[in-house]
Amino acid sequence: MIFRFRQPSVLPGFGLTLGFTLGYLGLIVLIPLAMAFTQAFHLSWDQFWRTVTAPRVLASYRLTFGAAFLAATINTGFGFIVAWVLVRYPFPGKRLVDALVDLPFALPTAVAGITLAAIYSSNGWIGHALEPLGMKIAFTPLGVIVALVFISLPFVVRTVQPVLEDLEAEVEEAAASLGADRWQIFWRVLFPAIRPALLTGFTLAFARAIGEYGSVIFIAGNLPMVSEITPLLIVSKLEQYDYSGAAAVSVVMLVISFLLLLLINLLQRWSRIQRGWETVI
């Protein structure tokens, strides 16, 4: 068998479009990204390791990944309920609510940050109500979680929603006619079908949340060791002209992001196999 790079086709433009695509990706994305790695390699292995495991950096990983994990978990629970309600229950204003779920995708992150800081600070609408309960949200690590919940809110809703819409009513009816109660139908029939989408949504939300900068810096307080996220640490290293240090921490973040991207691809493939057809997310 002769190896062919591509299958023959009567359509033209393969060389032109693939060439342009690769050239564009190379110039805009890949070569600049490679710069982070080459800059980080200016450091010796020892220096690199000391930079990326310094106590202040480790504290920022803990906050960034911990808050992103909690935010993604909160969004998985509530996002599932929101998707369920949007698909299955009629209520007034549903169309508007459905459209507004995407607001965090459309709203600039800086706007989200200042607004959340304003309402969750001690003289804001929600912060004021929580203060007698001894809860401070703005300018504490809790504020980071609030911001990350906001910006990653649509992911779980938008991955679960189409799967719920496609579920066949017949399957549930069959389960009911075989004597399953509503709870059993949910856990044994519906939940297994939704699980891949839930996991995909969680991972997308988590991946988005660990890189987030704009919304967090306004509400976090940004104290080193306490409420300083890793992207902010990269910016402050850059502002002190510590280019190699900034690049080293970026490399750690990039490697984790790449791994998450691979995981998302695997999850989406799993989800497609379960559903038996290609989906648009």
Partner: protein, 291 residues
């Protein structure tokens, strides 16, 4: 991200007891109220709290106008570039079978996985004064970082995937038969693209343009790193919002923020309109097939 609003399979036989329904509905709406609706209302409340005069003064301030101009300029460059890229990538990926295709699709998604701050950093490392090309650029009097080209580049980077990832699945689903028929009948490649492919993908393309524009105008992290925050020169509207906020000019901050919020709402409305249109088209197509 396509969502339809048909009632779903909630027939009476397999529905929850009313009190569970009400509970779930309440939980969903309270969650969305706390995290979406209250912030949305707060932007406009804070913006107008000091009166319409302060609001108008803030958004007609010369620096604000410069920031609006730069935001529009960088979107006006980034969006068309990514339209060309998206169409080109989708054509190569959807119309041909070749080795390494799924790898290429993953690479296109890469900018979504990269922190915006890192997107800015890599351009500083490449074009900054201490960067790889820095000495050469300085020698030729070209300024990219802390100047408009850097802002445009950072905006292009963060919006690379939007249009491609709308078009690739759409064009893959449409297949190649119609284009092949046109070619066999003697149409040129360009004619086939303009007359067959483009009409087929126009709604998906528009959808991608809306998402891409929203992100291009709102990007903060990447642009902030390469901007240098020079008022009147390298300040986009989101960066202007940050400067005003740090100067404790809250009414002006939220006035400018409300402009960006209005823009986001317009984008959401457009998005909902396109979704409804494509849903109707799909239903017509399905009912047509069943006849």
């Amino acid at each position: 991200m396509n969502s339809s609003l048909h009632p779903g399979p909630a027939s009476l036989a397999n529905s929850e007891p009313p009190f569970i329904r009400r509970l779930l509905l309440a939980v969903a709406l309270i969650f969305l109220t706390l995290f979406l609706f209250v912030p949305l209302a707060a932007v406009f409340y804070e913006a107008l709290r000091k009166g319409v005069g302060v609001y108008l003064a803030a958004i007609t301030d010369p620096y604000a106008l410069d920031a609006i101009r730069l935001t529009l300029l960088s979107a006006a460059i980034a969006v068309p570039l990514n339209v060309i890229f998206g169409v080109s990538a989708a054509w190569a990926i959807a119309k041909f079978e070749f080795y390494g295709k799924s790898m290429l699709i993953t690479l296109i998604d890469l900018p979504f996985a990269v922190s915006p701050v890192i997107a800015g950093l890599i351009y500083v490392l490449l074009f900054g004064a201490q960067g790889w090309l820095g000495p050469w650029l300085t020698g030729h009097g070209i300024k990219i970082i802390f100047a408009v080209p850097g802002i445009v580049l950072a905006t292009v980077f963060v919006t690379v995937p939007f249009i491609a990832r709308e078009l690739i699945p759409l064009m893959q689903a449409q297949g190649t038969e119609e284009e092949e028929a046109a070619m066999v009948l003697g149409a040129s490649g360009w004619l086939t693209f303009w007359r067959i492919t483009l009409p087929n993908i126009k709604w998906g393309l528009l959808y991608g343009v809306v998402l891409c524009t929203a992100r291009a105008m709102g990007e903060f992290g990447a642009v902030s790193v390469v901007s240098g925050h020079i008022r009147g020169l390298t300040n986009t509207l989101p960066l202007h919002v940050e400067i005003l906020y740090n100067e404790y000019q809250f009414a002006a901050t939220f006035a400018c923020a409300s402009l960006l919020t209005l823009l986001a709402l317009v984008m959401l409305a457009l998005k909902a309109l396109i979704e409804r249109h494509t849903l109707r088209q799909r239903r017509i197509a399905i009912s047509g097939e069943s006849i």
